[in-house]
Amino acid sequence: MAADTVLEVENLSVDIDVPAGTLHAVTDLSLTVAKGETLCIVGESGCGKSITSLAIMNLLPRKATLTANKLSLEGHDLLSLSEKEFAKLRGDQIGMIFQDPMTSLNPVFRIGDQLEEVYLEHGKGNRKQARERAEYLLEKVGIVAPVERMSQYPHQLSGGLRQRMMIAMTLMCDPTLIIADEPTTALDVTMQAQTLNLLKSLQKEFNAGLILITHDLGVVARMADRVMVMYAGRAVETGTAIEVFDQPNHPYTQGLINCIPVPGRTKPGSKLGSIRGIVPALVGDIDGCMFRNRCDFVSDKCQSGDIALKEISLGRAYRCLLSLEESRKNLEIVGAA
């Protein structure tokens, strides 16, 4: 483990009991996040990105079972913690920002009280210190007149302000790891850029590791140090943002990047690239490549067996039987289509 590693996850799997059998929500996922580093987990709905974040925070639904070889925060084993000990960790060492700030805030309590509660609950100090910390952080996230704002209720704030408030709340206990699940999806574009800028600069300032979960490739490209692309509960490609966007190796990543309209790159009105088919059901036994039914480059070899994550260089890997040369060639085909 590198000295500045905040979070280490090895071979994480999450299975959920559903009426039809066992749903393999996350399979054999490994990741690390370092201090001050941003790892973006990107994928479409149902790919397991949110379940991964819930698993890390031990907030999985009761019907879910978690198995992992390792789950550690700053070298401390999280797997052996009781629910009570975990509750102490959440909001303290692990901060969370969710998509819709309105549903993660209590509508009947004043903003100031909700901010202070986090601090007091974790025994960081007395009410006066909590208030000072709240005012300091609200100012940090760019809320003018924080004292007035603290006596308001969540509904009196705009969406952008609420999300800033959530960021402030996350930072109340100086977390080492921030997990942000689609933090700007509900915001306007102008607010999105501003909020992401804020999140990034505060993360650097507080030297926290950031796991940013999003489906927005633009956000990933601009925010990520490292990227993990997930599909059907597995990591299908990892690498730095530049590597993944400039030279995607997995057919899914290639397809994903190719199906968004990009001003200046895609011709207006042209047909967008698309990935045929739909996400497979994750219930029951899983064999072969999960992407094979949607893949343009599928072969007989993809139908069965375990497709391993192939490491090309440190931190750079993809889960596909195609060789590097083959996938480069495919990229030209996909890009030209």
């Binding site: 709905s45 574009v189 850029a193 800028n197 601009r222 207006p268 967008l272």
Partner: protein, 325 residues
């Protein structure tokens, strides 16, 4: 600047359309007027896509509701094929205009199955037999990428993405002439979004559909739209051909909007947005130009005088920067 005059009347036209809500803040407070939409003039020709962009609260959705005949305008009028919308029955409006709304959680009845939801327009208009309606529902479910097994499911059993697909299928099943899409893809996955955008384009060509496309995703707007209308606090502040607006945005607000677009280019960082804080209170809009408190190019006259919508460089702009006479 006029849109090319065609022999036919525009598919959809807004003439000086405005909508004022009377808002009461507090139990004993007097009602105050809130101008959600203020004097909008727009034309959409048959087969064209008109995108309406702007931040939340700018009146996009109110305008969409008026186009659908769900909300009467307080000033001006909306015409479908040259016929004022308020002179036609609701059922007839529904045959011509169908909506795809933003929030698939509130736009689907939680107690109806997917089949019932998608086939409801057919049922209301008494089209087909239950069997043929079922076949049609299955066809449209496939088109929008919904697995057939969900046909008897309820919205609560579906993901947000799947719900929006149901809403889109429901709108398209009537094959309307005009589709008012209010953020139709903002809740969808990117691969699904591509499918839906391709589908919308295909249908538009095949059926000569007209779209009023409301979105805050400017990459999608650039890809799809022929015309772009930029709204701010209920006003139309810039209007022109999509290609012109994306090449050379003129209103400072339009420029800020375009700067905020995060293209998937990993070599670029986050853009610095110089815009001031969020939308001002629409109950007491700023003096002069509504945008002046946030405008990086603000001048003295901006807070004193309201700018007029003027024609410049092949488009309409409402900004003092361009009104030197």
């Amino acid at each position: 600047m006029d849109q090319p005059m065609s022999d036919t009347v525009p598919a959809l036209e807004c003439r000086n359309v405005g909508r004022t809500f009377m808002i009461k803040r507090g139990l004993f407070a007097e009602k105050q007027p809130l101008k959600a939409v203020d004097g909008i003039n727009l034309k959409v020709n048959r087969g064209e896509v008109m995108a309406i962009v702007g931040e939340s609260g700018c009146g996009k959705t109110t305008l969409a509701k008026m186009m659908l005949g769900l909300l009467p305008p307080t000033t001006g009028e909306i015409l479908l094929d040259g016929i004022p919308i308020n002179s036609v029955s609701v059922l007839d409006i529904a045959k011509k205009v169908q909506p795809v709304f933003q929030d698939p959680y509130s736009s689907l009845n939680p107690r109806k199955t997917i089949e019932a939801i998608i086939s409801l327009p057919l049922k209301v208009h008494d089209i087909g037999t239950p069997e043929s309606r079922r076949a049609r529902v299955e066809e449209y479910m496939r088109l929008v990428g919904l697995p057939k097994r969900l046909i008897h499911s309820y919205p609560s059993q579906l993901s947000g993405g799947q719900r929006q697909r149901v809403a889109i299928a429901r709108a398209l099943i009537m094959e309307p002439k005009i589709v008012v899409c209010d953020e139709p893809t903002s809740a969808l996955d990117v691969s699904v979004q591509a499918h839906i955008l391709n589908l919308l384009q295909d249908l538009r060509k095949e059926l000569n559909l007209t779209y009023a496309f409301i979105s805050h995703d400017l990459a999608v707007v650039e890809h799809l739209a022929d015309w772009v209308a930029v709204m701010y606090l209920g006003r139309l502040i810039e209007f022109g051909r999509a290609a012109d607006i994306f090449r050379d945005p003129q209103h400072p607000y339009t420029r800020a909007l375009l700067d905020s677009v995060l293209t998937p280019d990993a070599s670029l960082g986050l853009p610095e947005i110089t815009l001031g804080r969020g939308l001002p209170n629409p109950l007491s809009p700023p003096s002069g130009c509504y945008f002046h408190p946030r405008c990086p190019d603000m001048r003295d006259e901006c807070s004193q005088r309201k700018p007029q919508l003027i024609e410049t460089d092949n488009r309409l702009v409402e900004c003092h920067l361009y009104s030197e006479t």
